[in-house]
C-alpha cells in the first residue's frame, strides 16, 4: 500500500492561557486531518488566529500536539519519537518562517547557514555544494560572504529556502513566506517555490492569508477557520466555486475594486459564533449544526481531487436525514425530515 508523504489524523492542540488564578484552555487546532502528497503544493488559508501556523509548528515538531497522529511515510512519528523529532524526520521535513529578518542570526555570513545545514545532515559542505544551493534559489555566489543585514528581505527569504534545501527535504513547511516581503519580490519567491516542486519534486505546505497567491501557487487548497478545516479541494475549484459560507466570506474580504464593499463584518462575527458555539448556524434555519457537527461532504471533483466541505447545507438530502435521525435531542423533527 502506498502512503501519502505525510498524513495528519485528528490533530488537536490546546494552549493554556490566563493567569494562575483563571486558567483556561484555548483549542487552537481542533481534530484536523489531511494528507500532504509527495511533490504537491498544498495551501492552508485562513485569517489570523485560525490555527494555521499552529499546524505548521506541530508538523515541524516545534509544538507538541495535544492529540492526534502525524504519519510520515505511514509511520506515526508522535509515537516513535515522542519527545522531539529525530534527525531523520528533520531531514525530510523543513520549515521556512514568515520573518526573514528574524530567522537568520546576524553575526554569521550566509555561507555559515548553508554549510551548517549541510554538515549537520551529513553532506560535505564543499564550495560546489554551496554554489549550487545559491544558484538554485537565484542568488549569486558572492553573496555567500555577505551578512544578513546586507541582503534585502526577498534575498534573505531565498537564503532561508536554500538552507531548508541543503538537507534535501521531501517536504517544506512554508509559513507565510511572502507576507513580510515587498510587492516587488513576492512573485519571485512564489515562482521559486513552484520551480522547486517541479524540478525537485518537493512537497510543500504553503500557509497564507493571501488567497490570490494560494490560487496561483497551490495544487490543493484547504480553508481553516477557528481551528477547524472547513473546506478543501483543487486550488482553482475552491476559489472559483467556494462551497462553505466562510470561504465565500474570506474571498469577499480580498480587495477588489469591482466588488468593493461586499465584505460583511457582521456575517463573520455570526459565523465565528456559530463555529465556536454551535448552537445556531446563521445559514441553516433548521438548526442541524446545533445537534451534530457537520462532517465532510464531497461536492465535486476536479483534476482527480475531491472538493469537500464541512457544512450541513451542502449535504446530500439522504445524508441530512441520517444525521438528524442520529441526533437524540429532537427526534420529532428528525422524523419529519426523514419522511
Amino acid at each position: 500500500m502506498t502512503h501519502p508523504l505525510l498524513s495528519v489524523r485528528g490533530l488537536t492542540k490546546d494552549f493554556q492561557v490566563g493567569t494562575v488564578f483563571s486558567r483556561r484552555r484555548v483549542r487552537a487546532v481542533d481534530d484536523v486531518s489531511f494528507d500532504l502528497p509527495a511533490g504537491r503544493i498544498t495551501a492552508l488559508v485562513g485569517e489570523s488566529g485560525s490555527g494555521k501556523s499552529t499546524i505548521a509548528r506541530c508538523l515541524a515538531r516545534l509544538e507538541q500536539p495535544s492529540a492526534g497522529q502525524v504519519l510520515l511515510d505511514g509511520e506515526d512519528v508522535l509515537r516513535t519519537e515522542r519527545r522531539r523529532a529525530s534527525q531523520v524526520y528533520r531531514r525530510k521535513v523543513q520549515m521556512v518562517f514568515q520573518d526573514p529578518f528574524g530567522s537568520l542570526n546576524p553575526v554569521h555570513r550566509i555561507e555559515h547557514f548553508l554549510a551548517r545545514a549541510l554538515v549537520v545532515h551529513g553532506h560535505p559542505a564543499t564550495g560546489e555544494a554551496l554554489r549550487e544551493l545559491m544558484t538554485t534559489v537565484g542568488l549569486t555566489e558572492d553573496m555567500l560572504q555577505s551578512y544578513p543585514h546586507e541582503l534585502s528581505g526577498g534575498q534573505r527569504q531565498r537564503v532561508a529556502i536554500a538552507r531548508a534545501l541543503a538537507v534535501r527535504p521531501r517536504l517544506i513547511l512554508a509559513d507565510e513566506p511572502t507576507s513580510m516581503l515587498d510587492v516587488s519580490v513576492r512573485v519571485g519567491v512564489l515562482n521559486l517555490m513552484r520551480r522547486l516542486r517541479e524540478e525537485r519534486d518537493i512537497a510543500m505546505l504553503y500557509i497564507t492569508h493571501d488567497l490570490g497567491s494560494a490560487r496561483y501557487l497551490a495544487d490543493t487548497t484547504m480553508v481553516m477557520f477557528a481551528g477547524e478545516l472547513v473546506e478543501g479541494g483543487d486550488a482553482l475549484a475552491v476559489m472559483d466555486a467556494p462551497a462553505h459560507p466562510y470561504t465565500r466570506l474570506l474571498l469577499s474580504a480580498v480587495p477588489d475594486p469591482e466588488r468593493a464593499g461586499s465584505y460583511d463584518p457582521v456575517e463573520r462575527a455570526r459565523l465565528r459564533e456559530a463555529i465556536l458555539n454551535p448552537t445556531s448556524c446563521p445559514y441553516g434555519d433548521d438548526g442541524t449544526c446545533s445537534r451534530t457537527e457537520p462532517v465532510r461532504h464531497i461536492v465535486g471533483e476536479d483534476d482527480g481531487q475531491p472538493h469537500w466541505v464541512r457544512c450541513h447545507l451542502r449535504a446530500p438530502a439522504s445524508d441530512i436525514a441520517r444525521r438528524v435521525l442520529k441526533a437524540t435531542d429532537d427526534t420529532e423533527k428528525a422524523e419529519t425530515t426523514a419522511a
Binding site: 516587488s184 519580490v185 513576492r186 493571501d210 480580498v254 463584518p265
Partner: protein, 321 residues
C-alpha cells in the same frame, strides 16, 4: 469655510528630496506635485523605495538629515509648511495633519494602558484634567468600535487589528483636516484589513477629513481612493482618477504593479513580478522591460503630461503611452 472648499487642503509642488551621503546623494523624491481637496482621499502607490513614505514624511516635516528638501513647496490650507518653526510645528502636527505609521500597532507604549496613552493627547494638547481626558479617551474608543472598558487594557492584551484601531483613533483625536496613512494594514490579514478600511471610511464620513493613503496594494487603494498617483524611482509616473487608472493603466509600470498580485479570477498564468533592477543615474531601471519603445526615457523618467482632463502620465512629447 466655503473658500476653503475650493482651495486644496494640501498642495505639493515640484517637491524634491535628496538623501545626501559622503560625496554622493540619492534622490528620494523628484519633482513630485499633487494636491488633495477637502474630504478627498488621495492615494500614492508604489513598491518599497519608490519614495512614497519620503513624501509623507516631508509633508509632516519629519525628514531628518541626511534627507533634505532641495526644491519645491508644500502648502497646507494656504500656509507654507516648509516655513513653520519649531513651536508652530508642534501645533501643526496632530491638530492639522495626523499620521498613522507603517506597523503603527507596534508604536503603542507597552508599559502604559491604552487609556493613559490616549488621555495623554488631551492633557498635552487640550490641557484637560486627567478625569476629563479619560472620558474623552473613552468616547474615542467608542468611535472606532472598541468597548471603552478596554481603556484599562495594555497593548499586548489587544489583537493586532484592535491596536491598529486604537492608533487610528489617536490620530483623529484632535480632528485633523488631513490624515496620512502609510501602509496602515500591511501587517494584517485580509479580514482584519477589510474591517480597518471600513472603519476608516466611517470615520471619514463622520469627521470629514482628507486622506493621503499610501500602500503598494493597488486593489486596496482603488477601493478607498478618489484619485491616485503611482510612484516609481522617486517620481510620479501616472496620476488620475483611481477608477480610471485601474480600468486602463497608461504607464507600463502601473500595469506591472497591478500584475504583481496573483489574481483571484481568470486562468492561472505565470507572473513575472516587478523588475528589481535599481534605478541608476543613467537609466530609469524599468525601461529594460518596457513593452513599448520608450528609448526616449532610458536616461530618465519623463515629466508628467496631461493626456486627458485630470489624467497625467509620464511620457515625452512624442512618445506613445
Amino acid at each position: 469655510m466655503d473658500s476653503a472648499r475650493d482651495e486644496p487642503v494640501l498642495d505639493v509642488r515640484g517637491l524634491r528630496v535628496e538623501y545626501r551621503g559622503d560625496g554622493r546623494s540619492v534622490v528620494g523624491a523628484d519633482d513630485v506635485s499633487f494636491s488633495i481637496g477637502a474630504g478627498e482621499v488621495f492615494g500614492l502607490a508604489g513598491e518599497s523605495g519608490c519614495g512614497k513614505s519620503t513624501i509623507a514624511n516631508a509633508v509632516m516635516r519629519l525628514l531628518k538629515p541626511p534627507a533634505e528638501i532641495t526644491a519645491g513647496s508644500i502648502r497646507f490650507q494656504g500656509r507654507d509648511v516648509l516655513a513653520l518653526d519649531g513651536r508652530e510645528l508642534r501645533a501643526f502636527r496632530w491638530r492639522e495633519i495626523a499620521m498613522v505609521f507603517q506597523s503603527a500597532m507596534n508604536s503603542l507604549n507597552p508599559v502604559l494602558t491604552i487609556g493613559e496613552q490616549i488621555g495623554d493627547i488631551f492633557t498635552t494638547h487640550e490641557k484637560l484634567k486627567k478625569r476629563a481626558a479619560r472620558e474623552r479617551a473613552g468616547e474615542l474608543l467608542e468611535l472606532v468600535g472598541i468597548d471603552p472598558g478596554r481603556l484599562k487594557a495594555y497593548p499586548h492584551q489587544l489583537s493586532g487589528g484592535m491596536r491598529q484601531r486604537v492608533v487610528i483613533a489617536m490620530a483623529v483625536a484632535l480632528r485633523p483636516r488631513l490624515l496620512i496613512m502609510d501602509e496602515p494594514t500591511t501587517a494584517l490579514d485580509v479580514v482584519v484589513q477589510q474591517e480597518i478600511m471600513a472603519q476608516i471610511r466611517d470615520l471619514q464620513r463622520e469627521l470629514g477629513f482628507s486622506i493621503l493613503f499610501i500602500t503598494h496594494d493597488m486593489s486596496l487603494m482603488v477601493e478607498l481612493s478618489d484619485r491616485m498617483g503611482v510612484m516609481y524611482g522617486g517620481r510620479i509616473v501616472e496620476l488620475a482618477n483611481a477608477k480610471d487608472l485601474f480600468a486602463k493603466p497608461l504607464h507600463p509600470y502601473t500595469e506591472a504593479l497591478m500584475n504583481a498580485f496573483p489574481p483571484l479570477t481568470g486562468p492561472r498564468r505565470e507572473l513575472t513580478g516587478l523588475f528589481d533592477a535599481p534605478r541608476t543615474a543613467d537609466s530609469c531601471g524599468f525601461h529594460v522591460r518596457c513593452p513599448d519603445d520608450r528609448s526616449d526615457c532610458s536616461a530618465n523618467i519623463p515629466d508628467l503630461r496631461e493626456v486627458a482632463p485630470g489624467r497625467w502620465v509620464a511620457q515625452s512629447a512624442q512618445g506613445a503611452p
